[in-house]
Point group: C2
Chain length 435, copies 2
């Protein structure tokens, strides 16, 4: 059927490729790379653009289309034969990719998403950037792309931020979106571990949605939408149906692979057509709750015994993405919302729980009046209060303070935001020195 099999057909010769592969593809990547030149940020070749552009104006169509990147990008090429070439910082522009390239056929691709923040103190900051770099290594291993030292990618990211940040992120309180991307560029059409790859980092400019000029025009009212959907505030999540699964044990839901995203677009389209924003991905016969869109999902509820809990799905079965925001929400909630500390923030304490939980448990809590709030958390969405969950015939209208947010989403959001924008000095906020 496919080209997987463009190795010689069974002919009685020894398997020709066995020699070049090790016990597991992942181990192979690490080993084969160890003998060759590594990714090395200190070798960066810099050639600044000769055609610098102006950042798009607030409210401009260019900005709303979210297609604009900054003046420069970083690229680093790898080949099985020669290892990592010296990375380059150069003008942002199109990539030249062979029509046979692995990434275009076999989705040998993974990426990261993180933001660059312009702090209230005037400094540029990344948030726990090393975690993104380490996660890209894990994603690369899962999709058979080569390994690299996380520190070197971090250094490249910082260099790009230092180069383009001051011009493209002039205002305090603003952010840019960074997209480290790793693709298999091997032009051989056989289904095989890529022998060539390209790691690149780009910085996209996104609208500041707190500026009304950047908001899209409201759509026409759709008479087919339910009353709950029409009036709900916050994020509206439509639970996935049994015939639509995002990830599964033995799969790759934990890795930030392109293969987790494209196939979800059909479901996302259906959610939006029904007036919802994202799919709430359920898994298994008992409808356990995994992720919201491509963000992690949190619920605050009181147990039947009256214990208040912040609950999210566990990492252990590899179904969900190990979000940097997720880890940060859990850790900061554990520290600051403990029985000891919560009163400092005028909040009721809660217990932080990572375990499988089901849609039925959420519905029970909702119907008993024990559901306190729900939110999604990720880099791009940040901490987004959930206002509505649609599941089967149910429409769960999630409580929100003044129709805007839950108390805990607000607290967590402000704590993390203070770190990102340097209002609170914290090790999670990593400053970028200007170039």
């Amino acid at each position: 059927m496919s080209a997987q099999d463009m190795t010689p057909p069974a002919s009685g010769t020894a398997t020709p490729t066995a020699k070049s592969l090790t016990k597991a593809g992942i181990a192979h990547n690490l080993e084969s790379n160890a003998e060759k030149p590594q990714l090395d940020a200190s070798k960066l070749k810099i050639s600044l653009t000769s055609a610098p552009r102006d950042p798009p104006a607030a409210g401009s169509e260019e900005l709303k289309k979210m297609r604009t990147c900054t003046d420069h990008m970083i690229t680093a090429r790898w080949t099985l034969e020669d290892g990592w070439e010296a990375p380059e910082l150069k003008a942002y522009g199109p990539l030249s990719i062979m029509p046979t390239a692995s990434v275009l056929h076999y989705a040998t691709e993974c990426f990261e998403g993180l933001k660059l923040y312009h702090g209230e103190d005037g400094k540029l900051r990344l948030f726990r950037v090393r975690r993104n770099c380490e996660r890209l290594r894990r994603s690369a291993a899962r999709i058979s792309l080569p390994d690299f030292p996380a520190e070197q990618l971090e250094n490249l990211i910082k260099k790009l931020c230092a180069t383009d940040g001051p011009k493209w992120l002039p205002n305090k309180g603003g952010f840019l979106y960074l997209r480290p991307t790793f693709i298999g560029t091997d032009p051989g059409l056989g289904v095989q571990v890529p022998k060539e790859a390209l790691l690149y980092v780009i910085i996209a400019v996104f609208p500041d949605w707190s500026d009304p000029r950047n908001l899209p025009a409201a759509s026409a009212v759709n008479p087919d939408l339910s009353e709950a959907v029409t009036k709900a505030q916050g994020l509206k999540l439509l639970a996935s149906k049994e015939d639509s699964i995002r990830a599964w044990p033995g799969g790759f839901g934990y890795a930030k692979l392109g293969a987790n995203y494209g196939p979800s677009l059909v479901g996302q389209g259906e959610a939006r057509a029904r007036g919802y924003d994202q799919i709430l991905w359920l898994f298994g016969n008992n409808a356990s709750v995994t992720e919201a869109g491509a963000s992690n999902f949190f619920v605050v509820w009181k147990t039947k015994e009256g214990q208040q809990q912040l609950i999210t799905a566990p990492l252990e079965d590899n179904l969900i993405l190990e979000g940097v925001t997720r880890a940060s929400v859990l850790q900061i909630a554990q520290e600051r919302l403990s029985a000891e500390n919560a009163s400092k923030y005028n909040a009721e304490s809660l217990e932080v729980v990572e375990r499988k939980f089901t849609m039925q448990e959420i519905l029970d809590a909702y119907q008993d009046g024990r559901l306190v709030e729900a939110f999604a958390a990720g880099t791009a969405f940040f901490v987004a209060p959930v206002g509505l969950i649609g599941w089967k015939q149910h429409e769960l209208e999630i409580p929100m303070v003044e129709g805007k947010t839950g108390v805990y989403a607000r607290l967590v959001r402000s704590w993390l935001s203070d770190i990102m924008y340097g209002k609170e000095q914290h090790e999670w906020g990593v400053t970028v020195d200007e170039a």
Copy 2:
């Protein structure tokens, strides 16, 4: 976590994208496309290459690397705004793709694989090409790429074959490999249905593995390999472990998406390191057998009651690819190996069965001496006899006539080959008129 959420965060406005999406993403594709210019092969713009190349010589390194394509390719661009542009036939060469393109991040990609045959009668033929075109439509719908008329793609494929076939496929009995590919080129970084896409068709030149000059050098003998693996002829399949699943109900295993291939490379690498050629993908607690590598998988066995059967996994749960070769094997076996007809071919008749079957059933048949043969079937592999299956501690040495093939694999292979190469005139063999 991701950019899926680069729509404005929950802000109380109406969902901005609902208007542009319909009840299901798939339906959306069909509908939105209907009002815009369709893919139209009659509008093809032809600009022949000014730098024609020589086909690689037999035994050359260029040929063995399987990176060579013919002089030309066909491209057809689509945008949500303007529908399909006039397709182009032009010089084969690199594509210019924005670093933000959907295909590089979200695996919005699908493809087809089929061959062009140079018949014994001197004619160029495709095999059931319309089926590939229809399947690409289904794959496109699953990955949220736009629809097109299958007939128009078929016409474009034929035109490219007519242009490059005579020069690049001069010898009777040879073949070229066609790769229609469809990618999302939308340069907006949000996780969304692509608003721009590129359909292209390329023709790759692969070695004729029946020519010894094209065979790779035998690898060094690996002392870690088992005796059964070392001596087995034919295709060697290693059954997947429980923690490695290719596809699952509610997923997209039936569609020819990049997302089904890249994530399988780690398992494939492990199989090859153990001296096997491909993974035999199992599914579920009862280890039901689905596909072999990316080919469909067939077993011939006798039931305990003595009934001889050709068995393969069913399509109904959407786990496996609906192979063109698979369908052809089933149909031709049903016709020619029936109780009425089998004796014409000096063969024992068999019953053709599509149902779920398990590794344990294969093992039982093997241990009872009821296992007759096994083979994989797909475009690139064609019909490949299986000589060994590794599962848990078992090594099943599958019977083969003279160590080369089973009787039924040989028969089916020769029947289909006769159609492909025009020895038998049959509606499945579609001739290409020279340009």
